[in-house]
Symmetry: C2
Subunit: 354 residues, 2 copies
């Protein structure tokens, strides 16, 4: 059943006023907010209808109306106007996006912090999307007679290293031999394929440099493992205290500890992220996690390249300026995609100063 034009106008007025003021909206206030040429009694009738239909709620009998999750949903789907960012805002984001090209996870972490600051909501950011990564190459660099550096590179172009020290001595030819062996036997294997049996066979072949294989390969496994379970970076949890719905310390604390708990968001999120086009809004009970049932989540996805995608978003009360937040997130996500798209070319040579 389609809502009448007038009802939509009224719903929209309620939502937008409530987003701004956090106060229930009364019939008279709506008269001032819209161009409607009717009396407050008419508005009241409409409000009553909208409440009955489930788009609005009443905190108590003699208060104004507040949007319900269903109301927000309708607003987001049909009523909300796409928000254009001001020049000042885009400038600010562009500036903040001038992140140092560092390790991927640091960049993502930074981006999360930035979004939190930008929106005044707790933010999260994560990367993921590849099912099975494999090691593309191994290199061993000799440092001393008893230490060397392992460098592994994955087929998603992630490079990690580790310094390994040994109680025994080691020769350059040995290392050379090991490298060859590693690249012959352990390249192109996913985490699951790096089985103990495989290791045993290889160790056999390794001869005197026996135990090293397992050291190097378990490092590789750690790397692959950490790529599959990439962490969720959260930032700005304290921002929830900015918003009046969390004046209640207990509520605030519950949400906050949920947000800072390592893996919690990861579970709640990656499903919707993958299928979605650019941005996605989850309102109140639409969230799967119980702890988020009366919060909203807005997220945007971006491209990292090498087959990986990322998601960045914020968490806040259902009373959230969806239009603005979505616009900002989308802008940031686009920026990140571009950043990663060009990021692997060398930076312009004139960046030497700074």
């Amino acid at each position: 059943m389609e809502l009448s034009e007038r009802k939509k106008k009224i719903l929209r007025a309620v939502v937008e006023s409530y987003i701004r003021t956090a106060e229930p909206v009364g019939s008279k206030a709506i008269l001032e907010l819209t161009e409607l040429k009717v009396s407050s009694a008419t508005i009241r009738n409409e409000l009553s209808d909208l409440t009955e239909m489930g788009y609005l709620e009443q905190p108590h009998t003699s208060a104004g109306r507040v949007p319900s999750p269903k109301g927000y949903r309708l607003y987001v789907n049909e009523l909300m106007e796409e928000q254009r960012l001001s020049l000042e805002e885009t400038r600010q984001i562009n500036e903040a996006l001038h992140l140092k090209m560092q390790e991927l996870d640091k960049v993502i972490d930074q981006a999360g912090r930035m979004v939190s600051q930008l929106t005044n909501y707790p933010a999260f950011a994560l990367a993921g999307g590849r099912q099975s990564t494999t090691i593309r190459r191994y290199d061993l660099i000799m440092v001393d007679t008893n230490s060397f550096i392992v460098v592994v590179m994955t087929d998603s172009n992630v490079v990690k290293n580790k310094l390994i020290r040994l109680p025994t001595d080691l020769s350059q030819p040995q290392l050379q031999m090991l490298t060859t062996l590693l690249n012959a036997s352990f390249v192109g294997k996913s985490l699951e394929e790096l089985t103990p049996e495989l290791m045993r066979v290889a160790e056999h072949a390794a001869g005197s440099a026996y135990g090293l294989i397992s050291l190097v390969v378990s490092f590789a496994m750690e790397v692959l493992d950490s790529l599959e379970h990439s962490p969720v970076y959260t930032a700005g949890a304290s921002h929830i205290l900015d918003h009046p719905e969390y004046r209640d310390v207990d509520k605030a604390q519950k949400l906050m500890s949920y947000l800072t708990e390592e893996q919690s968001l990861a579970n709640a999120l990656d499903l919707p992220a993958l299928n979605s086009d650019n941005t996605k809004i989850l309102i109140g009970p639409e969230n799967v996690a119980d702890e988020l049932k009366d919060t909203s989540v807005v997220l945007a996805s971006y491209d990292i390249g090498d087959g990986m995608k990322g998601v960045i978003g914020v968490v806040g009360p259902t009373r959230m300026d969806y239009a603005k937040v979505a616009a900002k997130l989308s802008y940031v996500a686009d920026g990140l995609s571009k950043l990663f798209g060009q990021g692997e070319l060398p930076p312009a040579l004139d960046e030497k100063e700074e």
Copy 2:
């Protein structure tokens, strides 16, 4: 002027009771907490003295007494008994200390989280201590005709790498030549010594592989830079909401945003850390940072090896169980020192499972 035995007993009772209950302590309560064979009136006289001397404070005329920072200080210096951790507690910490040997910063971050969980206070952890680090060696690993991996190792045994892609092709001999040049000209130089002039001279010598030098060296500079400004990891900021002194949302928020603000703690801390022996307690106004004037900080330092030290600690209200917190921190710090001390030997070979 030395306090009488009895005054000390009373002060101690007040502090310990207040730490437990967060309620002002009255004269009668003290009678029950101590073995003193006097009347409450006598206690009142003593309390009055202690208040006048500045060791106690009165929230209002008709309330009990609360320790002042000066009172806590005396308690910590003279009255507090060293707390022994229970078996359960040490077991718990030992277990948590079985951190995966990962990159240094991840381990430190983990340790911070752990301490926060252990103590129910916001925690921080950081590393530092070396003034000027230099690069010990450069290695370039060829991947394709147009991409290679830089690996740099510092004299503090930190190894970092980066994948660099180029629009132009590159030959193995070129890379070889570059490596030689880099190791000849840029090894043993600190951040300050890697001047633009030096770079220009080297680029000249590099011939056709001209621009690459600057790419590699600026990566090295980034590495050195990040080592000097090593970040402060904070965790568990939401824990301050556990404590009744932060029922006031505004106070909580102020502290919390201070804690999550990147660099703020770094400035406030490294001074006392360096000179101190193992653990250190800073009570209320003893803190340099204004934002911490009515909080306390307990910290412990640990050894990372290779000339680096680290600090780990918690922030909380002045009403803090100093004995317990200090004991836990000290235990954790010792554990970390040991972990780092042995960490660079290979892990036992039987760790393959897990």
